[in-house]
């Protein structure tokens, strides 16, 4: 259940952003992506999630094992917290476990329409989705934005004890220290050289 | 050279007139656009190599 990446090069809007990326994440491990804004963190995560094809290189992971989470966490305002989570469980054909409400401190909010939640609460609901769908590989883009310190600690705890401990792995783009003893991966070293056209779709015209 | 167009002369001429106007308009627009972009291209190329 490991994630292996070899010689990966990704582009955004036809322009190569990252080049020659190679790394491996073993089960139980996490990898934190560092780099300035626009370095390509989100683009890389989307390629790993299979939402966009890479320009070159390979991403090796078992099929149907990745879960992607971005800033916008797809919460339906008119559905209640429980209905939102039940939908994700059904969509991913996973058995519904009430325990996830406690993991993310949502038990008291279960019946409230998601539209009435605060930014931090709806963020916790977004992260609770990861607990519900039970995917071993998590690809998280700034997961702790708009969370207070206590919630960040709870999420890091869940990540460590529940996800990584049970053999899951995660690639996380974040600036906030999560207290995980995870190796860091600086993307600015792999910035594609703009003058070298590479395989981006603009290459044919340069 | 018989040029007697009968009672539909105005229709025939209008058909030709509009059609040729459209053709000339389309060609002219494409040609002007072709030249303008070509000139822009050369200006940028000179800027890059100069």
């Amino acid at each position: 259940m490991s994630l292996r990446v070899e010689g990966l090069s990704v582009a955004r809007g036809g322009v190569p952003v990252l080049d020659g990326l190679s790394f491996t994440v073993e089960p139980g491990q996490a990898l934190v992506l560092r780099g300035p804004n626009g370095a390509g963190k989100t683009t890389l995560l989307r390629v790993l999630a299979g939402l966009a094809p890479p320009l070159a290189g390979r991403v090796e992971m078992p099929p149907e094992s990745a879960a992607y989470a971005s800033h916008a966490d797809g919460i339906k305002a008119t559905l209640s917290v429980r209905e939102n989570l039940r939908f994700w469980a059904d969509l991913y054909a996973r058995p519904w476990a009430e325990g996830v409400l406690d993991d993310f401190d949502l038990r008291s909010l279960a019946h409230r329409p998601a539209g009435t939640l605060s930014a931090g609460q709806s963020r916790r609901l977004g992260l609770a989705r990861l607990g519900v769908i039970g995917r071993p590989i998590l690809l998280l883009d700034e997961p702790t934005v708009s969370l207070d310190a206590a919630s960040v600690a709870r999420f890091a705890g869940w990540l460590r004890e529940r996800h990584l401990a049970s053999g899951g792995l995660a690639v996380i783009a974040t600036h906030v220290p999560l207290g995980l003893d995870a190796p860091e991966f600086d993307l600015s070293r792999f910035r594609a050289d703009p003058m070298v056209a590479g395989q981006g779709s603009d290459a044919a015209f340069l | 050279m018989t040029l007697e167009l009968g009672k539909y002369a105005s229709e025939v001429l209008s058909a030709y007139g509009v059609s040729l106007a459209l053709l000339v308009g389309l060609s002219g627009w494409s040609w002007r656009r072709y030249r303008r972009v070509k000139a822009e291209m050369e200006r940028v190329e000179r800027g890059r190599d100069g």
């Binding site: 036809g14 703009p194 340069l206 | 050279m1 539909y8 058909a15 972009v37």
Partner: protein, 244 residues
């Protein structure tokens, strides 16, 4: 050197640049000769009076309108399968030309049928098919304009062209079915040449050749423009990234 060599944008411009003036000149020559020949030197057809002279504009433009869409369909397939930018840009370049040709076919068709139908527009199945084709062209061009990213635009418009072609064919038969009940179409079938006496035939072929040359010239010219615009955009983005 396989044909796909021309898919390289720079080579495409290099090889087509000298061809454009010749194609353009040839087109003008053929159209002028064909029209004058057809306009002045042929007697009026008995039933239509002088409106039959419109055939020299209607039939060629109608053919280009239909074949233009087919060319765009093939170019879209080439883009989807082999990812050659030139074919996607050629489809984008051909769309307005096809649209104008459809407009001409509509206008000349309406004027030609006017004496026989007594009205400017009688929902004749053939003309209505061109009206629907015009709507497809309109949607295609609008979609290209609506999407900033060139690759995404090329992909989406290609899929629209494929789906649109199927529905264009369906519409053509639907329209023929829908209008049979109303009234009999023009006796002179507009698209088939065998009904035409040979004295009309030769200038018509010259006009058709002229229109084909014009279409080729315009598409080559406009594709060159699209390629250069795309190159300017790529250079600019490269400069931005280098500066960042």
């Amino acid at each position: 050197m396989s044909i796909w060599e021309y898919a390289n944008p720079k080579k495409f411009i290099a090889t087509t640049a000298p061809v454009i003036p010749w194609a353009f000149g040839g087109a003008i020559l053929c159209i002028v000769v064909g029209l004058i020949w057809g306009f002045f030197l042929t007697p009026d057809a008995d039933r239509f009076g002088s409106t039959v002279k419109i055939i020299y504009l209607h039939v060629p433009s109608a053919m280009i309108a239909i074949n233009g869409w087919i060319m765009m369909l093939v170019a879209s397939l080439i883009w989807l399968i082999r990812r050659h930018h030139v074919s996607a840009l050629a489809a984008k370049a051909a769309a307005p030309v096809g649209m104008v040709m459809t407009l001409i076919a509509l206008w000349t068709g309406a004027v030609w049928g006017q004496p026989m139908w007594g009205t400017w527009w009688a929902w004749d199945p053939r003309l209505t098919s061109f009206l629907i084709l015009f709507l497809f062209y309109l949607g295609y061009v609008a979609l290209w304009e609506a999407i900033p990213d060139p690759d995404q635009a090329a992909d989406l418009t290609s899929v629209l062209c494929l789906v649109g072609s199927v529905f264009a064919l369906l519409s053509r038969y639907a329209v023929y079915f829908w209008n049979q009940g109303l009234h009999q179409g023009a006796t002179l079938s507009m698209d088939s040449e065998q009904h035409i006496a040979d004295v009309f035939w030769v200038p018509l072929v010259v006009c058709i050749a002229g229109f084909i040359l014009l279409f080729v010239a315009l598409v080559l010219m406009r594709t060159g423009t699209e390629i250069r615009l795309r190159r300017l955009r790529a250079l600019e983005r490269q400069a931005q990234r280098a500066a960042a």
